[in-house]
């Protein structure tokens, strides 16, 4: 996913010279990754589509800031992630504001939008897993998304998150521990008995 091929290098040169058509190489190559990562981070199809496209637009506008020896995808991932986190923050603010207006003491969960309708071949267990993923912290959710839904290696994840492999394994450990808690898959958990 993250290898810098000649096609990308040539496209990047053309983009730097102000040719938006050359950017198509990056969009076609990474649009599915971008959409599914955004979906994993924000949990909603329409928002994921819009945010992934917005991330490409911002990447195009700022492509001059990307050093020629750097890979496109890890840099692009940072833009996408920041957009998604900012979107979640705004959503939380809107939910809290609307609840305040109704004098409701309980703030809404940010993960309310993790609707199981985005899950393929749904069943009760898959729905629960998806909603549990939605309840993870951002930093834990992203490693789960990149590992399980993008099938990225530890090295690729580390490259995308600008950290070392040790940090990734540690985050995965705590993310999975938290998922176990949420799903009750640990010792004596009720989900163990499910098919």
């Amino acid at each position: 996913m993250t290898s810098v091929c000649q096609e990308e290098i040539t496209a990047m040169r053309r983009c730097r010279r102000g040719s938006p058509e050359a950017f198509e190489v990056f969009v076609n190559r990474y649009m599915k990754n971008a959409y599914f990562i955004a979906l994993g981070l924000v949990g909603n199809r329409e928002d994921a589509m819009d945010l992934s496209q917005e991330a490409f637009i911002r990447a195009y506008r700022n492509i001059k800031h990307l050093k020629p020896d750097r890979k496109f995808f890890p840099w692009f991932y940072q833009i996408l992630k920041n957009l998604c986190i900012s979107h979640l923050r705004k959503r939380r603010y809107r939910q809290t504001s609307s609840l305040d207006a109704e004098n409701c003491p309980e703030p809404a969960a940010t993960t309310d939008c993790f609707s199981p309708e985005v899950v393929a071949e749904r069943n009760e267990l898959k729905d629960k897993v998806w909603q549990a993923i939605g309840k993870l912290d951002n930093k834990h959710r992203e490693v789960i998304i990149l590992r399980h839904f993008q099938n990225m290696s530890y090295e690729q994840i580390a490259e995308a998150l600008y950290c070392n492999k040790g940090t990734i394994t540690s985050r995965l450990y705590y993310a999975r521990k938290r998922l176990e808690e949420l799903l009750g898959t640990g010792k004596g958990g009720c989900i163990n008995d499910m098919p």
């Binding site: 938006p20 950017f23 199809r45 589509m49 993923i133 839904f149 530890y154 999975r176």
Partner: protein, 148 residues
């Protein structure tokens, strides 16, 4: 090494990310540590459940239109920038001309002229002040080079 130190190896083992040497080291630990073996089993179950979840793929036409949508948005944003710059320039020019006409117009009272000049001077002071403050904070911002 304590069991806690093996958590990284456990994740690597689970995801098939270990070298042969690391794998051997971890398996040696597992054979003598029922606690870690149990924890690994729980993680295996969780991984199996999580791996079963796949997300609905959007229809083909969405992917076919994706680039066009991005391209149109890029093009439109360029259009907006050009439009905004032109609007600002024209507004400044029009405002300047209007003020010039008022100042030169002998029929307009002195009080209005002085008031107008004071208004412009006030706006200019505010603008310079805000600009200077922003510049000052930007230069002193220790975190400006931090990758966000």
């Amino acid at each position: 090494m304590t069991c806690h130190n093996y958590k990284d190896l456990m994740m690597g083992y689970l995801d098939n990310e270990l070298t042969d040497e690391q794998k051997k080291q971890f398996e040696e630990h597992l054979s003598g540590c029922p606690e870690c073996a149990g924890e690994l089993e729980e993680f295996r179950k969780l991984k199996a459940i999580t791996d079963e979840v796949t997300l609905v793929e959007p229809e083909d036409r969405i992917w076919q239109d994706y680039w066009n949508s991005v391209y149109n948005r890029i093009e439109r944003s360029v259009g907006w920038i050009v439009f905004s710059v032109a609007a600002i320039l024209l507004t400044i020019y029009g405002g300047f001309k209007l003020i010039e006409d008022i100042i030169k117009d002998a029929t307009v009272g002195m009080l209005l002229k002085v008031g107008l000049l004071a208004l412009i001077a006030g706006l200019a002071i505010l603008f310079v002040s805000v600009l200077r403050e922003r510049l000052h904070f930007w230069q002193k911002d220790r975190y400006k080079d931090v990758r966000r």
